[in-house]
Symmetry: C2
Subunit: 415 residues, 2 copies
């Protein structure tokens, strides 16, 4: 970690050594930490040109900006290098000048969370741990299980889930060989049991909200986007927001790039929450402390009623002169279909919430007609076929008869 100076608390600024097991500030409630780099040292050793000639296409191509030892073994999965698409027909539909979609649902386990979980596998080894644990039924869990599996049996993942978790979501975890602990109780009870177990057995904690290193994994999404755009950032960069880690990570990546002179301005960040669970938007608008929210939305990957990383998220949006906005489940489902039809990108509800929010922000005049935006799709639609069915509409039903088909097609205007 030759470029890491240490950690600091984002509330009281107290400094800490960059110990792989240092998670929180000792003095502050919600004392989330941030990793500090020696940018002048990085600038001396690293450049856009060196990066261009780096053959590793995974997130590890950005190692000088990551809080890891160069030689720690990396999980094998090809995390990162997800495609970007310039989609004029969607830009036109939203009423803006230019729109870039980055499909992070094409990561190996099908979500952006692979970026954080790959980092967790590296940091766990640096902490001397063999087992990494988390409490989740979602993308954090599957990405952890997959990245651990790609270590070929040398490490283990333990995932705590409430017993109401749908069997389909557990299938991916179990195929990856995770020890899945189904807790007879609520999500809270599963969480507290996982915390007790992590404490008792000294496992590494894959909880992006309190682990400062995992956000550094997530920041690769904005660094990668910047490189793909040849360091020309759009006016707006849009993310769906749950616990706040992804947008905070994206901000950190952009901050790093500005310090290095790789980009010259911070794009405005637009954070989008679901109407049924929008505590960070509320804290941002009210300028007050976060209030715990209900979790009433189909976008389960961002349904976080008590987000741990809200301070970093609000800071990211504010410092970038950005904004927060909420969207209804109905608009999310509509946008899932619009995105699929216009681009061939299939997103889960949380994955497309950002784009639905951008549409609203344009309608509300927050994003202007002559501006450009990039939206990161955070998870693959194959993760949530149940909601995809709600978005999809119905097939055309017909007897096996060409005349009848012709009639129906005529009515529908297909022919």
């Amino acid at each position: 970690m030759k470029y890491v100076e240490g950690l600091h608390c984002i509330k009281c600024a107290k400094k800490y050594e960059a110990d792989p097991e240092r998670y929180l500030c000792d003095d502050c409630e919600d004392g989330i930490l941030d990793v500090d780099y020696d940018y002048s040292k990085i600038k001396r050793d690293w450049s856009k040109e060196i990066l261009k000639n780096t053959s590793d296409q995974r997130i590890w191509r950005y190692t000088p900006l990551l809080p890891i030892e160069e030689n720690t073994e990396k999980p094998k999965l090809a995390v990162g290098n997800t495609p970007i698409y310039d989609i004029q027909v969607l830009a036109d539909e939203l009423g803006i000048r230019k729109l870039i979609i980055k499909d992070d649902g094409l990561n190996p386990t099908a979500s952006l969370k692979d970026r954080a979980s790959a980092m967790a596998v590296v940091k766990a080894q640096e902490a001397g741990a063999v087992t990494v644990a988390c409490s989740s039924t979602g993308n954090a869990a599957s990405s952890l299980a997959g990245n651990i599996a790609s270590m070929g049996g040398r490490m283990k993942s333990v995932i705590f889930v409430p017993d109401r978790a749908p069997a389909g979501k557990l299938a991916q975890l179990l195929v990856y060989g995770a020890d899945v602990v189904s807790v007879k109780g609520t999500y809270e009870e599963a969480f507290y049991l996982s915390a007790a177990a992590i404490d008792k057995w000294g496992w590494y904690n894959r909880n992006a909200a309190i682990n400062p290193y995992l956000v550094e994994g997530k920041k690769t999404v904005s660094i990668e986007l910047a490189e793909q755009l040849n360091w020309q950032m759009p006016d707006w960069l849009v993310f769906s927001v749950g616990d706040g880690c992804t947008i905070a990570g994206a901000y950190k990546g952009l901050y790093d790039l500005i310090q290095l002179g790789f980009i010259d301005k911070m794009p405005r960040l637009l954070g989008v929450q679901a109407e049924g669970c929008a505590p960070i938007t509320e804290a941002f608008k009210s300028n007050e402390k976060l209030k715990v929210s209900k979790e009433d939305t189909i976008a389960d990957s961002i349904a976080v009623g008590k987000p741990r990383n809200w301070i970093k998220a609000v800071r990211a949006v504010r410092d970038s002169e950005g904004d927060m906005i909420n969207v209804s489940d109905q608009k999310i489902l509509q946008m899932m279909k619009t995105l699929g039809e216009k681009s061939g990108v299939f997103a889960e509800p949380a994955g497309v919430a950002g784009l639905a929010g951008l549409k609203k922000a344009v309608a509300d005049g927050i994003v202007k007609k002559d501006q450009s935006a990039a939206v990161v799709i955070t998870g693959n639609g194959l993760k949530d076929i149940k909601n995809a069915r709600k978005a999809a509409g119905n097939p055309i039903e017909v007897e096996p008869d060409l005349d009848k088909l012709t009639e129906i097609f005529k009515k529908m205007g297909v022919i």
Copy 2:
């Protein structure tokens, strides 16, 4: 198409012009066509070095070896450039020297079929068609719908399915905006209605088995693999086999590379079918004409009782001095879990059948202990969660109590 000389029938060798709508030989039953190239002309204009400096990472980087006009608009989806993993722990488990896994389930719509569908979108335009149709409930359909969608509304897909098709499989198609025609009848009736409709309205036919150009899309999988392996091919290259197009395509790609001098020998092809549907293995072993088979396997993407491309498939395996083998559904499910645990790659049953077949081929002495192999995983496990659940096993059930968890973990040897 400056390097394409034309087409020839693989049965009678009759030559045809490379018309985008030329599908079959006029004279032969099962008269599948093959595309011929002027390799000396390609060699003059193209080299490994030029390829190395080609920035397009999609399958279009191999355009000199594709039967397309250079300027036809490409679908936007980032098809190709799927990762390869060198997995020693799996090689050890199978008892061979070296094993490469190529995860083609990370294509944009989550299967290898994207390579053929992207080609269909290009050839349809060259034929002057706006609509492309097929009859399928599987990966051919979803990849067609996704690639068409990525044309941003300028083209359309029409997909014919029998009304027993599960709603989950239709969701992805409908989100991509395909016109899905649910035919009240069998799969055969859906197929014949699609054929009649294609004929009546002049749509482009996305049927890999009879369309010679689509196999040329599929061949990019072996060309890409060869480039990723720095042109050093393993002793064996392994594919699951359904209608025969994928293994035939892989062979064609390798044949091209040998003609160009990019690789110096043809790896042996191992074709793997499911025990419950193995007509091509039977034809290969018996040296007789193909007999239609039942379709009794969980590996639905390769459950093709009457494969159209069996002649090309058998020729590919024979010319490469390869072999064919069958595996049971139980072995497929077991291998789904083994692959997941050892590599973090989540495959659908048909996607992992090749690997299960390789294991059997090693046990049978077909593949030797000192040999190397590469296996292409053809589809993502998220496509078929129902079967993943069968492979996955069960979670550990526990009360929210650390003492009880400790007890269970001790019994299971987790701690």
